[in-house]
Symmetry: C2
Subunit: 223 residues, 2 copies
């Protein structure tokens, strides 16, 4: 079972070629794109798409499934850092995976099962990563580590999504590597600054709010 990725040079089967064309089109143009465009990209007839996948929805499912598998395989190959930028950068680094990454980005904007599943994975990864950092003494402990990991996943994934939305010219596999480097260059200094030195000069806002909400969301409180 050679589940090779898209830009493999060689000949995947026709079904896989259609699926990869669909992933690329969906990632670039969104899920409203028609089967005609996908069929043309794959150099087959529209009918053949339906023949292999039953329906457009079936094709979507196959794309979701394949993207899921690619990500699992990649994560196994080199364990990621838990941040959205880290995960995406690792995937996009090998430029072959740019279509998959753009498909994930599109899914995250759209919502749905795949997006929810991948996001929960990100939260888990972030929680583990932060916990390891706390244990190593490089990350500050949190009153509510799980909530912090989730919020940081919201922020890091959401930030990339917003950046890409504001730079739509980069919704293309060919320029995605460049896009990611531009993103990282733009955000790294401010992010490191805030995460190292904080934003507020004193603790009044935090302490005021902690008085108002005496116990952290609970579950497993105190750091």
């Amino acid at each position: 079972m050679w589940s090779a990725a898209s830009a493999d040079g060689g000949d995947l089967g026709t079904a896989a070629r259609i699926r990869d064309a669909a992933i690329e089109r969906f990632g670039r143009d969104g899920f409203t794109v028609g089967v005609r465009a996908i069929a043309e990209d794959a150099a087959v007839s529209p009918g053949l798409v339906v023949h292999y996948y039953g329906s457009k929805q079936g094709l979507r499912r196959a794309c979701d499934e394949h993207v899921r598998e690619v990500i699992v395989a990649e994560k196994r190959a080199a364990t990621t850092g838990g941040t959205a930028a880290g995960l995406l950068a690792q995937l996009a680094d090998v430029e072959r995976f740019a279509p998959v990454v753009l498909y994930v980005v599109r899914s995250m904007r759209e919502g749905g099962d795949l997006a929810a599943e991948l996001f929960e994975q990100m939260v888990d990864d972030a929680a583990r990563y932060l916990e390891a950092g706390v244990a190593a003494g490089v990350i500050r402990p949190s009153r509510d580590p799980v909530a912090r990991a989730r919020v940081m996943a919201y922020q890091s994934m959401g930030s990339i999504l917003m950046w890409l939305t504001m730079h739509p010219e980069h919704a293309d596999p060919a320029s995605f590597g460049k896009a990611l480097r531009a993103y990282i260059e733009e955000v790294t200094v401010p992010v490191l600054e805030v995460f190292t030195e904080g934003l507020y000069t004193d603790r009044s806002l935090l302490e005021e709010y902690l008085l108002y909400v005496p116990d952290p969301p609970r579950d497993g409180a105190q750091d």
Copy 2:
């Protein structure tokens, strides 16, 4: 020129009623929704929608324009704090504006001119707000205040978008107030924590990167 908002109880003109129905539908179901559904919500025929707005695209433009006007009026009424949560909370506070806010959220997920314009406004607002905080001594100065404001806009807007994407049941005007309260409750402690105390225990990451990038982004830096 009474440009009253949607839930006005009374009788806007038919054209305005169609526009408001469109804003609500677009916000709830996305911009792929058909004119038939909008017409039904407004209790008019599909033909009348086109009669007033020429085309679906014309209707979109009218919605964008109205949303823009509502936001300008509201911002004038009570100057916002510059954060996404602040802006949205203020708007959604009066539950009447929930459809407009959801329309904005949808636009931010979709991209386009309105999204770009509103986002740039958010960046400007955030920059002013942060600058005032620095002047007052409650916000730490930044090496690059404009970049920091932009990154915080990415994060705050993106965070809300991600949260709503992961909680699609709240893409409804009726529950939007509740949604926003839930969001704020979930993120406030971790956000205040990180923004007050930072995330890293030491300055090594920041300083290492600053050595690597001696001058702030600079506008024309060659890698």
